[in-house]
């Protein structure tokens, strides 16, 4: 406390003595300081976001966009099962998946918006993953169901619906986990690593549940 007040007191004492005589010749340093400050501010404004946020072509942005697409289909399949299944365990699991992944889409979209990046990329799907060549078929990322499979799921009912849902979601989770693991590998962004890690652990534990439910439903 006393250390900080001492220089302050010294400064205020010294100030009145020096102010009066030099006032007439002061404008140039002030103007120079204003201009310099303005330039520094603009420069910092330009540079800081680029240093602190991943760019438009970064692995982070690619992951957020592609995982949003990937998640959206999981939500679609889960909502179909949630609405049409008669098995309470499937209804619960599909509701859980739909709500979780729709919520995670919100996180991912919000970060893109926060970083001033468009939710739609100019690069093809999966381009942010180095070994992804050929993994996108008809615009579908690994693990994603085809329009025909979705159509079949839409029309299914009873045990056939449950088995189709579990089978499709199993493949979907495997593809999603691979993407999330790749994101953790490529990115050192705290948010990305945190969310991707929760996807890996969450979906891995769901895979165990899916496998046990598959055994049950296929057996019945």
């Amino acid at each position: 406390m006393s250390v900080t007040t001492d220089p302050g007191a010294a400064a205020t004492v010294a100030a009145p003595g020096g102010d009066t005589p030099a006032r007439g010749s002061r404008p140039w340093p002030v103007v120079a300081a204003l201009i310099l400050g303005l330039l520094l501010g603009v420069a910092a404004g330009l540079l800081i976001p680029r240093f602190t946020h991943p760019g438009n072509d970064s692995a982070e942005a690619g992951f957020l966009r592609d995982m949003s697409t990937h998640h959206a289909q999981a939500v679609e399949m889960s909502m179909l099962a949630h609405a049409n299944s008669t098995n309470p365990r499937i209804v619960t699991l599909s509701g859980d998946i739909a709500l979780t992944q729709h919520g995670q889409i919100g996180y991912m979209q919000a970060w893109l918006r926060d970083w001033d990046l468009s939710p739609t990329g100019t690069q093809p799907a999966m381009a942010w993953m180095p070994d992804s060549a050929g993994s996108v078929v008809n615009g579908l990322m690994p693990g994603m169901a085809t329009p025909e499979q979705l159509d079949s799921l839409r029309k299914a009912s009873g045990n056939a619906l449950d088995v189709q849902f579990l089978t499709l979601m199993r493949a979907h989770h495997l593809g999603g986990i691979h993407m999330a693991q790749e994101a953790i590998e490529l990115s050192d962004d705290e948010n990305i690593d945190w969310l991707a890690q929760t996807m890996v652990s969450g979906q891995q534990s769901e895979l165990a549940l899916i496998d046990s439910l598959l055994k049950q439903t296929q057996g019945s």
Binding site: P7, A10, A11, T12, A14, A15, G17, G18, D19, P21, A22, P29, V30, A33, L34, L36, G37, L38, L39, L40, G41, V42, A44, G45, L46, S68, T69, A72, Q73, V75, E76, M79, L80, A83, N84, H102, I105, G106, Q109, D116, S118, P119, T120, T122, A125, N138, G139, L140, M141, M144, P147, R154, K155
Partner: protein, 268 residues
């Protein structure tokens, strides 16, 4: 101590000047002029005006550099913050709307403030729309599934407009367009959530793409402005951020008769 000092330095000049004698000041001025170019000395000016050389020396010694530096840093930071604020404000103002406005041929219906287009009510039964295809207005409570769905038959406007409200890009083409051209359009939609595609009877151009409040029409399926439009508007044009494209109606054809609300989605 005090006696030799004043006699050697300027003070002696001062004494001569005030005494009014001609010679000593002149010789001093000559010496000063001779030294002038090689090195500036107070004596140079001192030759003419006796008192002034003393003043600058005095001020330089007592100038409070500490407060000046503190004030300078404070001013610098303040101006920097203002400068950044201005910059951020200017940069932040360029959103997707500005990007769409740069695409030649896009019609902006949002700026027209047309109540029939801006309406967002949910209404059962067939609706009238002021543009073809519609870009907004009252719509059915069920949206058309827009998870990159490619419909090979016309779909109900009342469902599609609800998809636009959710942030989807609706790609429509003149019914009867050659299959290879339809295939080109299909590549822009399939697998891409928040898009949907369907033929549109009586369309005045080969292709019309629309989001809520914006429309672009062209006869060329390879027009790169189609891709630009999709790129700049998909998702961000949503009137309900976070609203889904799944769980929508997937049947084609005109609207189901009023009284059979929505839910045709999971049916065949």
């Amino acid at each position: 101590m005090s006696t030799p000092g004043p006699e050697r330095v300027p003070q002696s000049v001062k004494v001569d000047k005030t005494s009014g004698q001609g010679k000593p000041p002149v010789s001093a001025a000559k010496k000063a002029a001779g030294r002038g170019p090689s090195g500036k000395t107070p004596a140079g000016k001192g030759g003419g005006k006796g008192r002034k050389p003393v003043t600058p020396v005095k001020v330089a010694g007592s100038r409070p550099w500490g407060p000046i530096a503190v004030a300078g840093v404070v001013v610098l930071i303040a101006v920097g913050i203002i400068g950044y604020g201005v910059f951020a404000a200017v940069k932040g103002s360029r959103g997707w709307e500005d990007k769409v406005a740069d695409i030649a041929g896009v019609t902006n219906y949002r700026e027209q403030k047309n109540a029939a287009i801006d309406a967002r009510d949910h209404k059962e039964g067939p609706q009238q729309y002021v543009t073809s295809p519609p870009v907004g207005g009252a719509h059915n409570s069920a949206w058309q599934n827009c998870m990159g769905d490619v419909y090979d038959q016309p779909i109900a406007n009342e469902h599609a407009v609800h998809s636009l409200e959710h942030g989807a890009v609706w790609v429509t083409y003149k019914q009867g367009l050659p299959a290879d051209q339809v295939e080109v359009l299909k590549q822009k939609v399939q697998g891409k959530e928040y898009t949907l595609m369907s033929p549109y009877p009586g369309l005045d151009k080969n292709v019309s793409v629309q989001v809520w409040g914006y429309q672009f029409k062209t006869d060329d399926v390879n027009d790169s402005k189609i891709d630009q439009f999709i790129q700049d508007t998909r998702l961000v044009s949503s009137m309900e951020p976070g609203a889904a494209c799944s769980s929508g109606n997937t049947s084609t054809g005109p609207l189901a008769p009023a009284g059979a609300p929505g839910a045709a989605g999971s049916g065949s």
